[in-house]
Symmetry: C2
Amino acid sequence: MSDPDNVQPIPCGQMGSPVLIERQIYSQLLNMILNLQQLLGDHFKQLASVRLRCTSLEEQKNLKAIHEQEEIISSSMCQMASLLLSKAVSGLRPQESLVSLGSRGDIADGQRAPSTRQLDQLVPQERDFEATFLTRVLSNRGVDISLLYDSSFRDYEAYQKDKYHEENNTLGFLNLSLSENKLCLDLITDRLCQSDMNNVEEVLLQYPNWRGQPFLREEVARFLTYYCKAPAPLDPENVVVLNGCCSVFSALAMVLCDPGEALLIPAPFYGGFTFISRLYAKVELIPVYLESEITYKRTQPFQLTVDKLEQALYEARCKGKDVKGLVLINPHNPLGDVYSQNSLMRYLRFAKRYDLHVIVDEIYMLSVFDKTIKFCSVLSIEGLPDPKRTHMIWGTSKDFGISGFRFGALYTYNKEVASAMSSFGYLHSISGITQYKLCRLLQDREWIDRVYLPANHSRLQEAHDYITKKLKSLDIDFLDRGSGLYVWINLKKFIYPCTFEEELTLHRNFLDAKLMLSRGKSYMCKEPGWFRITFAENPARLKQAMDRFCQVLEKQKYDCLAKQLEEAQME
Amino acid sequence: MSDPDNVQPIPCGQMGSPVLIERQIYSQLLNMILNLQQLLGDHFKQLASVRLRCTSLEEQKNLKAIHEQEEIISSSMCQMASLLLSKAVSGLRPQESLVSLGSRGDIADGQRAPSTRQLDQLVPQERDFEATFLTRVLSNRGVDISLLYDSSFRDYEAYQKDKYHEENNTLGFLNLSLSENKLCLDLITDRLCQSDMNNVEEVLLQYPNWRGQPFLREEVARFLTYYCKAPAPLDPENVVVLNGCCSVFSALAMVLCDPGEALLIPAPFYGGFTFISRLYAKVELIPVYLESEITYKRTQPFQLTVDKLEQALYEARCKGKDVKGLVLINPHNPLGDVYSQNSLMRYLRFAKRYDLHVIVDEIYMLSVFDKTIKFCSVLSIEGLPDPKRTHMIWGTSKDFGISGFRFGALYTYNKEVASAMSSFGYLHSISGITQYKLCRLLQDREWIDRVYLPANHSRLQEAHDYITKKLKSLDIDFLDRGSGLYVWINLKKFIYPCTFEEELTLHRNFLDAKLMLSRGKSYMCKEPGWFRITFAENPARLKQAMDRFCQVLEKQKYDCLAKQLEEAQME
């Protein structure tokens, strides 16, 4: 999945705080009251027109009484609105309100704090709002979506407009933030240029099967059966193909959860999920916080344990969250962890105990380059604890380095889920000619097994060796894993004091040096100072990027020392 | 909902004093709301007495609208009270109560029948549901979406599985329901097979610009400037490219309207809008009913007039609907009407008067095959009444017969709207290689103007001549227009009694004969008996389909007579 880096954490994501939850409820109530006010306003206007027509004395008397009622009602409404306003905005910091997605319509969404827009509406002079409403073009949610997008993709848009190029733009952005595999572009381009790829027959040009063209779903089923080592052939009817894994995740969240319901997800986690879960699904992602410290014997940094899952579920339920499922990323993004079959089974049994769905994102499954690591797909497991609630996502963006193809597939053991997912093909389908090319690509096992995967793995290993050697030489801690396109690194020692604010400052310093990295905060990491750095970039660019990296850190180190010295002198 | 056995009880210890305080505030709010309910109840009673005295028709109409408002207000009050009650009592578990209430959108959305789930909630025995919920896999909206999809696409799915084929499946479905142009497949296939179409350079394989690749947006701007006869070159920054016009419409509805708000749309109208407006946007489409009868001089059947727009807007507002815009389809689907510049200006000025957005769907703009008709794009108009609220949609599905490409473009004069629309590219983008092909296609004016369009128009005209001759020979009324891929026909005389039930029966009889047509009801036509029949099918298949059509009608005619005879004998 792609990387909208810098996705701001949902304010309520740091939930925990009952105050925030209460505030959200107040703002929801406030929305309801505002709606009610609107309704009543219209109602009274309508009455006024009737009133004009009533002329008899008795009628006039009646109407006077009605008018008095109106006034009492209106004043009562204002009182309520005012009370709710004071409760909803108490202690709300401006940037929180900016990021929040809530709109008047989103009553059912428990995640939201009131948006700027909503707060605007609350300023007392009602007439002013009408003026505001008249000149406004976007809907409330339109404004919110715009703000969310801007906060999530600002850096990405800057990068799109100013990409590094060896000849034309040597001062452009080098992007080690985006998780894209650029090491095998030569191979994939060669393959895609072969003549068998081009087919424009009628069926590809016309309206498709919304679940994905049958020929592609059949191929995906065969492909996953083979590469996931499924115990029995997978069923094409359980495959749903949409335009990207993010679309699959979004649609899955829609059909498994109602607005305001929640999914557990070990944190840090891929930041794009935050954006997706908010755009349409309005599903809350509850982080199961993992820590860098090794707390138990035979565990490793950021290890996911069933205890942590149990604890997170318990706390979520105490807060009244309706948790519907668990999201696992395997191989993990950004940690690079690959779950053993035993671990995976423990997580699955945990989910089964609480009737939770499990969504396993295996988008990096063929990017395990360390030969000593055995990847275990959830589709390989015989006797799954709860097959009807087990759903797996895969796509070609990472493993084949073709994120521009916008291809994502769901495999679910639940026909009802597969069927409900079809509805989304109408708005998330892939062009027929692209579906054809994907089918040809997945079909070509000979090329995948003999040419592509061996080359891809050895190039990933080489780039990984390069970057980890570099990190070691800089004395930077990192998780040494053998999968994915990135390394999870610890830059705490370059941040002083070690806060998320200073993490952001460092991030901005990288940007100033035209280098993009992903910071831990956008992955909901609990501890400040962590970054994800992509190494699947061509060697020359990677070297160039690492030079910029070193320069920034050099200066950063100096600044930290200076700050500490200043503090020492103050004391 | 989750398994009650597994729900952790709320630990009493955690019910600290803040929770208690919150609960008190909820109780206070609840009291206020209960008072308000009382006041409103009295108010409504009072009104009822006034109502008895109003006798004129217009007064009655006004009062009916007021009564409807009362109902909305009451229901809104009940929701608030119920939410507050749950909060005051429990203090916790906000999500549950929120979800069960539905959003403002659901209340105000007149199109939406209560979901299975909402109805469930109203039945008293809560325990029963919990049992039901336990076995439930899909979310409530998942169930709703599934049902909506099934009702919208059941026939289409049947067709996908059993398509007619000259050699392999002569008993398969012939589809004159789908609006697809199959008359120029030879030309488009030839063009797409040319070598300039195949490009797999790096930028096409990687993450795109979410608003659409700049090279494609530039080409779309040039293309529209030329074919829409824009008075000045259109700006690529005002173009947004997504995977299909339906995605564009859905995203536009999201950023212009909040859930439950409404758009006016002359009916009959393209049925897909109904599905789209409900899947994500939750926007209500309010039909501006057009009638087959000619009611004024110098008008034609199903003519849209400003009076009708005014009337529909007035009635909608009386019902408390928040109307944000007007949707126009030009050339019209299913009527085939092409609006004159004068008409178009009248509609635009109407919208301007009420600060309504205008979304003009011009997806058939190059499918005006009658040379005597002058198509006037909204982008050709100098001095638009309200450019900031004028948005135009176009795509290649119809005019180039490549619906499988999933390409739709928005042109808006409003940068804020264009910017907000970018957010949707993340979940609705087109593969890079397809964007490239589209760009090449739109670029090739020589081919479009000299080869494609002349051939397309003459083939459409020919097929139109064939079908209208056939219809005349069957003495079937139809709208004789010179645009689009279909004819709007009147089959009233084959339906007895002329009801929507019998329209459906006829539709099913066509299906039994393996012939698909679109019935008026699915286009929100007010009068039963109308069908849309696509003629842009290859001649042999079209003839075959029309044979089936005649056979069904022959039998239908006989059945109608038999029914009438039976009735006569009964009397």
